[in-house]
Amino acid sequence: MSNAPFDELEAELAKFPPAVLDAYREALEEMETSFSSEELVLWGKEGAAIAGQTVRSWESAVEYYRVCPLVARSLAFPSFMQWARCGTYLSQDSPALAVSFFKASPSIVSNLRPQYIPRWAGLGRSLYKGTWKSSTLSGRFFEVSPDLIRNLPFWDVEVFASLVEALSYKSYDVAVECLTLGKDVLPVMGREREAFLAMCRALSDGNWREVKSCFEVAPKALQQIDEGQTSRFLKLGERLTKVGIRDTARFLSDGSQALGQIPQSSQAHILDLCEGLLAVTPEAVSCFLKSLDGVMHRVTINQLDTWFQHGVQLLKDNPESGIAFFKVESNTSESLLETLSSSLELDRVKGVVRLYCRALSGSPIEALSTQELVRRNIGWVDQDTATTDGTKVFLPPVVDHYQNKEQNFSWFKVVATHQVAHLEFGSFDYDFSRTAHLFEEERRYILERERGASQISDDVLVGDLEPDGQMRAYTDIGRFLSLFDDRRLAFDLFTVLEDVRLDYRIKAEYPGIRRAAIDVQAEALAVRPEVEDLPLQEALVELLIRMSLDQFNNLPIPVDFREEATMLAQILVVLRDVAANVEDTGEATLRAYEIISRLENETQPEDQWEPEDMEEPGDFSEEEFQSLLDKLQASQDSSGDAGEGDPYDSPEPVDYRGDFKPEMVQLLTKLQMDQNQQGEGEPLSQEMLEQLLQDSAELELDAEQGDINNSTSTFAQNIMKEAGVPPPNSQPGQGYGPLLHDDDQGGELEAREPKAYVYDEWDFRANDYKPRWCVVKEKSLDEGDPAFYNDALKNYSTLLSHIKRQFELIMPETFRKIYRMVDGEDIDLNAALEAAADIRMKVPPDEKIYWRRNKIERDVSVVFLLDMSASTAEAIDEGRHTVDDRDAPDDPVEYMVWLRRRREGLVRRHYKRIIDLEKESTALLIQALESIGDNYGIYGFSGYGRENVEFYVIKDIEENFTERIKRRIDKITPLHATRMGSAIRHAITKLENQDSPTKIMFLISDGRPQDRGYSREGVEKEYAVHDTHMALLEAKRKDITPFCLTVDKAGHDYLKEMCGDMGYEVLGDIWALPERLPMLYRQLTA
């Protein structure tokens, strides 16, 4: 090849300062490996072209040659030349610019796609306006380019550059500063970068001075906000800017701080509100955000809405006052907050109330909101009044009667205590055949008199039909109430009298709430209707209510009926006795009814009322009662028809006492009981139930509030569902029927395939095992991606280190000193002394006179059984999970790493299921177990039907922990049902073959055992629980310690039965699972 072109080139370069030629020669050597000689000539010539542009452009050429070898590594020749030409153009404008361009190039070209290189050069060029300042800016741009290009997508760089350019029109200094800040700030941002840049762009048109401060505050500000919300937040900033609101930087820092103070789950909601506000009055947004923190300290997020809406309304009417409102600088705002903050939401105190009710009643009562009950649609329709259905206490969702929280809470307490009292003091235990304590028995007498002795016999079966086709009564209360012609009057009397009994009892048993109860009663009294305005019957009932609320003085009494009123008071007072039982209430009802029903329901003239004190009405006497009755009867007989007067209307309910529905409660209980002991007597049909509901006084009361006739059948259906009765019209052989049928039939099963095992199952009805009843098929779980495992460890790194520490603590326990060893680290002084004494006594001494630190053999085998039933697919309420942001590192580099990791976590976090937590817990547990070296196996179980119990091996007990196990964990998925018994039995087999002295079986589930023919709702629930209990017992008999952990909050009721005296725990907060599981295990074995 000829050297001529090169010589030519060298000659040309020699015209420039010698540095150019030197640089060329130096580069040439390295370039020869990259390009062909023709290409080299072109390359060299380009340098000469650069040098020849202007007087000082030889400097650019030197730089060009210097970086060429590096650039050539990344670019093919055509792209390379394109790049070089960019430099040439730049040096035409400004050699200094070209120098910067070339300097930055080596690290750019390796990160930027070749076709973008000219655009990049163009970006730098566009900043150059021919002035000295602009050239500095442009040079600075090339300087920071490597960082920008490496960390940002190119289009973001373009947007950023155009922002810098826009700023440069206002001030070069600001532009340079932003450029420098941007280099550090932008890469840290994620999806929000675009929004941030857009916001800054909007700013640069107006308040351009603020751009810099935005860059300064952004990193710290945005870190306070949930990633999902940052873009929205910035967009909000942009829109505020566009409408001309100043102080965007302030908005960024203050707003983000305000948002940072509230839970991440609520941030979206707050932003919703802000956006709403923006549409009304943009100025109010920052006021709102500024006062947000203070407001949120006083009210809940739900209450905030109320406050906010009020503010928006004000803004619309009068922006000035609206803004003052949002600044919390107005009385309206302050007083509204006051009211809101003093109100008490049930959700906040539910836990306490629930435990309180449980403590009082001694049964596992749930405390729920009344909304829940109304939703079930089984006959309760009022949202605002407390009530109970016998197993749950329902309370209104919010109390705001009082000006402060304490008072509102004590109202809750009084109400809850009253409801629990129904259970504690047996309102629902009314038994028709049980005798009253204080009254003489009258029911039988009434019964016979009313119905005629011939019709009533002792064996009137509850549930039987009357000869006329009418349902008699299914429940004891129903039977009692059916004694009366006017069921409603009777029921109202029963209610008020039972409340008298309970309120008195509560005050006697719980003196601590006496004061609060008296207050509540006094308030209830204040809103009672005037007795004088009511017709006679209702007035008398109202009088009883007032007395039940402890008003005995100054009662308006109709003068003509003083005797009757006094008698009623006497009856009522009998119940104010701790010995009174619900049957006494029944007797009192009978007597009060006898009196009131004989009177005409007519309004009494005003002058017929006289205030009177009933404090001591005297003792009730049957004789006086009877003579009064006779008198009434006589006057009734003489006046002819008793039907005159207004129809009787129920009194206003007493708020705090809530809805009292003893008949419904007894009905539900009885239905449930009937279901559980099948075969005994005819179960209630839906038609019968509907009839029953129609007759019920309890539902009649509610009829005023809704169309009851249409709803009785809905109620009936729902009640049936509630009680666990299979849906109506399910004939045997249809619906649920055949499954059971199918399953019960057929006999023993055989294991026909390898790795299939047959187990017996316990039938509690037969009190015996069903032989060879279930086939357990052991399968190895598929292998998936180990990423799940590793991510779990990463996401829980803080927790993991805590757990590891805890487990490592077990180790020193095992490394304790052991005394009296044959040899060891040092002499055991006690033993040595003894030995010395022995020698002197001429007794052969014990040779064990040393101590040593010995690893006490920790020999534990454990099997974990994971519930893989379909229900574990249930999503967990995201709102309860809060990521702890406080551990964000301060160091920017670490912070970036932290942020990136968090972001990766976010991708998975959008929706989590119970099983995901089970899996994560397993991952953590494995780490912990590996650290102490216990022998462990992890299995999952599911299946469908008794011939198909699937038993998945995640890690067999003999298997070592390998990458494959990690892969299998990924594949744990929700499948079918949970036939726990057989799975447990198979796990027992696994453990039995281990010879560790300590064997543990750990069962992790999300609910009660269920499977086809194993746990049919209502009918066979018990079967599954009993079988599981038996399986656990079998484990215990084989010296295996079983432990059940469930995340089912309703778990207490069946777990107690299922586990008996064996260990179990109900995890209230499922998010605690990953933490709790290893700790429980540690506790169990330490």
């Binding site: 306490v352 435990l355 403590a359 009082l360 048993e509 719980y510 709430i513 002394l833 300590t998 330490a1086």
Partner: protein
């Protein structure tokens, strides 16, 4: 017995007794709930060892103390010291047979129970451990929380608790046949059990098991009143509180409020501490550290006490 100098009022007054020489003269208060007195007496007469099962603070130790008194066996508390002189003068008709109580802990070894050689100026001297003394003296030996003791103690318990009724003393090469009146009694709280610490069946099946639980409310009120000296009304309320709090045993509380705690609360009340405060320090804060549970129990307290 060494009686402390009683010359001055301010001098500390205490009394020292040798192991089997401490006599409790007055009747310990014990309120039987079921047939435990009959059972224990029968077991004692028939030489059947007794296992007392039950939650903490329900009266197991007091029961043994009472039985020791009732069976004519004064109480002895283990305190290592020498001396063999008769300590307290016996009253007429009194049988001098002690009850030896040992609170078991995880470092309690067999030789702690049996005895060891000691060096002294003249040479060596054998000293009997508490178990040996109890066996020789025909005492009731009460091992409290026996699961806590080291496993080698079973070597001693087994031969003592079957028909042999012997205590092998390896060191001296002796076997001691237990006095006819000797009885071994152990206690055990099933709630504490950890998988690694459970009584072996071979051990358990050497005892009859008497189950203890907190007494019914009316009896508990009686006990609280008697023990703490508070008013009947307060005692009734405390018993009610105990009952309510125990309802929470399966809902978060590891253990219910023991009778002992109720008595503490009662005693504080007797000293004039307001009832709610007394319950707070004696019961609420003792039972749990969890804020929600504390709050719930406090609400129960504030309902029951004014």
């Amino acid at each position: 017995m060494v009686e402390a100098v009683e010359s001055e009022q301010n001098e500390p007054q205490f009394k020292e007794y040798a192991i089997e020489e401490f006599l409790v003269r007055s009747e310990p208060y014990y309120r039987p709930v079921g047939d435990e007195l009959e059972l224990f007496t029968a077991a004692y007469n028939q030489h059947i060892p007794v296992l007392l099962k039950g939650p903490t603070g329900c009266g197991k130790t007091r029961f043994v103390e009472y039985m020791a008194w009732k069976l004519g066996r004064p109480m002895t508390v283990v305190r290592p010291m020498d001396g063999g002189r008769p300590a307290q003068e016996l009253r007429e008709g009194e049988v001098r047979v002690p009850l030896v109580t040992i609170a078991c802990h995880e470092d309690l070894t067999a030789s702690d129970l049996v005895g060891r050689y000691l060096l002294d100026s003249e040479g060596t001297r054998w000293i009997d451990g508490p178990m040996t003394r109890a066996v020789k003296a025909g005492a009731i030996l009460y091992l409290d929380e026996v699961v806590e003791a080291r496993k080698d103690t079973t070597v001693l318990i087994h031969p003592l608790t079957d028909h042999r009724r012997i205590l092998p003393v390896e060191k001296t090469g002796q076997i001691i046949e237990a006095d006819d009146r000797f009885l071994l009694c152990i206690s055990y709280n099933p709630h504490y059990q950890s998988a690694l610490k459970d009584l072996k069946h071979s051990t358990r099946q050497r005892f009859i098991s008497v189950e203890f639980d907190y007494p019914p409310a009316d009896i508990e009120a009686e006990i609280v009143q008697k023990e703490s000296g508070c008013s009947g009304e307060q005692a009734g309320a405390l018993a009610k509180l105990g009952e309510k709090v125990r309802n929470l045993r399966d809902h978060g509380l590891a253990e219910g409020a023991s009778t002992r705690l109720l008595i503490y609360a009662g005693r504080l009340m007797t000293e004039g501490i307001p009832p709610r405060r007394a319950c707070q320090v004696a019961i609420v804060w003792t039972l749990t550290d969890e804020p929600e549970l504390q709050r719930s129990v406090e609400e129960v307290v504030s309902s029951i006490f004014e």
